[in-house]
Amino acid sequence: MKTFKLATALVASVALPSVAFATDLEVTHWWTSGGEAAAVAELAKAFDASGDKWVDGAIAGGGGTARPIMISRITGGDPMGATQFNHGQQALELVEAGLMLDLTDVAEAEGWKEKVFPQSLLDSCTVDGRIYCAPVNIHSPEWLWLSNKAYADAGLPVPANWNEFVESAPQLEAAGKIPLALGNQPWQSNLAFGAISIAVAGLDVWKEVNVEKNMDMAAGAEYAAVFQAVADARSLAAKSTVQDWNQATNLVITGEAGGQIMGDWAQGEFQVAGQVAGTDYTCLPGLGLNAYLSTGGDAFYFPKNKSADIEAAQKRLAALLVSPEAQVAFNLKKGSLPIRGDVDLAAANDCMKKGLELLAQGNLVPSGDMAWSPDVQKQNEDLLVEFWKTDMAPEAAHAQWVSNLKSGL
């Protein structure tokens, strides 16, 4: 009996450490601005506290720079432990090529199907019925940020929606302000187009085109009106001469520009500048016309590794990312919305609360990243930046846009 006990103790002493063994997991992402880094630190802290070790692999320069690096590491046989992508088709081919870890068992054990809200987030992680990614936040690009100071200087009331904004633009311009701040980077033109198209064409038309892929609708009068609206808007942005989105946001913060169409990440800039939502700046989700938010965002994918230890740690991290505690800590710092409806964000500011409200009402549309392949998105980005920044005819841009969409069918 004594020898048996000794033997079990010996076995346990060998077996136990391997259970409690801290596994290093390299996590790559492109969250490098102040607020983003603080948010990632929350995730790392939680993961380290659970006994494993988060090895941070931040890649500066935004998703466009980071994604090629991540993809080449995965396809080149040097996979990291976990990596950020946006929800949708960015990692689809990697999943199809069998390079990503199947998380279905984690999802079932943790009850993601019931808890993740909106459900579309999980759908975009699902390929052939299996789940391959852990969503962490929701970012919506359809916001109009207005400078209360700019309108006070011009002696005008702050507009309540896009139409009022366009109407008040000439007076704002007469007061020496730039009506619409827009950076020169192509994705910003694309984002502004997306926001205006949901606001002007309405949700049904948008869904018919982007979800049902009805190309007759895309070529129809509703979208012709969208292109006309953008053609009107581009003259408002003609005097905006900055490159980066945060420089454009800065024009709004200082009151040199009336407004900017930008995603909810712009909020971080207002916060850093010490501005208060409602008194210093105003936010209008869905441009104040159709208060819908598209639910893009970030998700973590776990590339397949050979070691079983790493695989176990990957699954532990996946479970942790979706857990309520991590969701609250992360999203409060990031200024994004949580991916589950059962958490309490009491500390959120006014603009975040507006977003949460829309989320609760279910006023949601899938993001472009989910609806179209990166190839189609890039073609549209090229087209729209040309359209915004030159005097290209709306009809010509519309026709080209339809043919771009068709290339992705």
């Binding site: 466009g64 994604r67 090629p68 993809i71 396809t75 960015q90 081919e93 990697l94 090529a97 020169n184 980077q185 192509p186 001469t241 490159q243 392949s373 990166p374 190839d375 998105q377 890039k378 073609q379 090229d382 930046v385 040309e386 359209f387 915004w388 920044k389 030159t390 080209q400 290339s407």
Partner: protein, 297 residues
């Protein structure tokens, strides 16, 4: 006898030949092999990962009907011609000025060469700020009293290329100057003395005697500058990111964006094959003139 001599030549200089093997292999596998692979896969519909589904010339048809690509090619032509003409002529003039046995030549040479030590990314960012109307030249001139002065090339689709050109010239001429200066210094003093004895004016000596003698230097410079122009990428990314609109796009940006951002390898390969063709169109006639002529002559 003839047989033995041929064998001899094969085995001569063995050390050098063995030492060259790694480089020869690298060239064959990485450069030549990679080039053929790229051309081959430009005929497929590869997306994120390469795959062998051949679709003929579809990628090329799409490429040549894409307005961004056409703008890129046009931009490269304009930028290329202007950049070649100006870097070489300014570089040569600066070198001639340096060659006048001036005082503090070392200091001037260092100053001229300094921009070349900066990467294109830094150059691009620096010039982005200098040409920015709110912080750069425009605001300085305005603060001096010329209130209506406008100088805003980077936000004008018609002028943006010249904004890039200024930055490119600022970065590259110093280097060309050094090459030219080395060429000038390589010219025998006696030629100058002979020209002086014959009473030929200095400018004429430069134009008619020195310039033709510096042909090899010019060709080296031409190849270096031309290669730099065709692969132009980082300067544009840093300075304008291709904008405003698509007004300052270049082919290398198209290749990168479509291969990695759009996850459409086939399209990117087709574009890079076209870039290769451009290089060959420049290179083959030159190589023919340079090497082919000698063989017959």
């Amino acid at each position: 006898m003839a047989e033995a001599r041929r064998v001899n030549r094969m085995w001569r200089n063995m050390n050098a030949k063995i030492a060259a093997i790694p480089m020869v292999l690298t060239t064959l596998v990485v450069f030549v092999g990679g080039t053929f692979w790229t051309v081959l896969y430009s005929f497929t519909d590869s997306k994120l990962l390469p795959r062998e589904r051949f679709i003929g010339f579809d990628q090329y048809e799409r490429l040549w009907s894409n307005s961004r690509w056409l703008t890129s090619i046009e931009n490269l032509m304009i930028y290329g011609v202007l950049s070649l003409v100006f870097t070489i002529s300014i570089g040569f003039l600066l070198a001639v000025a340096m060659d006048q046995k001036i005082r503090y030549e070392d200091t001037f040479r260092t100053i001229m060469l300094y921009p070349f030590a900066l990467s294109f990314i830094v150059t691009g960012l620096v010039w982005q700020w200098i040409l920015n109307p709110e912080f750069g030249i425009q605001s300085i001139v305005r603060s001096l009293g010329w209130e209506t002065f406008t100088f805003n090339p980077l936000n004008d689709p018609k002028l943006v290329l010249y904004g890039l050109l200024i930055a490119g010239l600022w970065q590259g001429t110093g280097f060309v100057m050094c090459l030219m200066l080395a060429g000038l210094r390589g010219i025998d003093e006696d030629i100058w003395k002979a020209a002086r004895v014959d009473g030929i004016p200095t400018w004429k000596t430069y134009l008619l005697i020195i310039l033709p003698m510096m042909r090899p230097v010019f060709i080296t410079t031409l190849v270096i500058v031309a290669a730099g122009i065709i692969k132009l990428y980082d300067l544009v990314v840093a300075q304008t990111s291709g904008g405003p609109g698509t007004a300052s796009q270049v082919p290398a940006m198209y290749v990168y964006d479509y291969m990695f951002q759009a996850q459409n390898l086939g399209q990117g390969f087709a574009a890079s094959t076209m870039m290769l063709l451009t290089v060959l169109i420049v290179l083959i006639p030159w190589a023919y003139l340079e090497f082919g002529g000698k063989k017959h002559g």
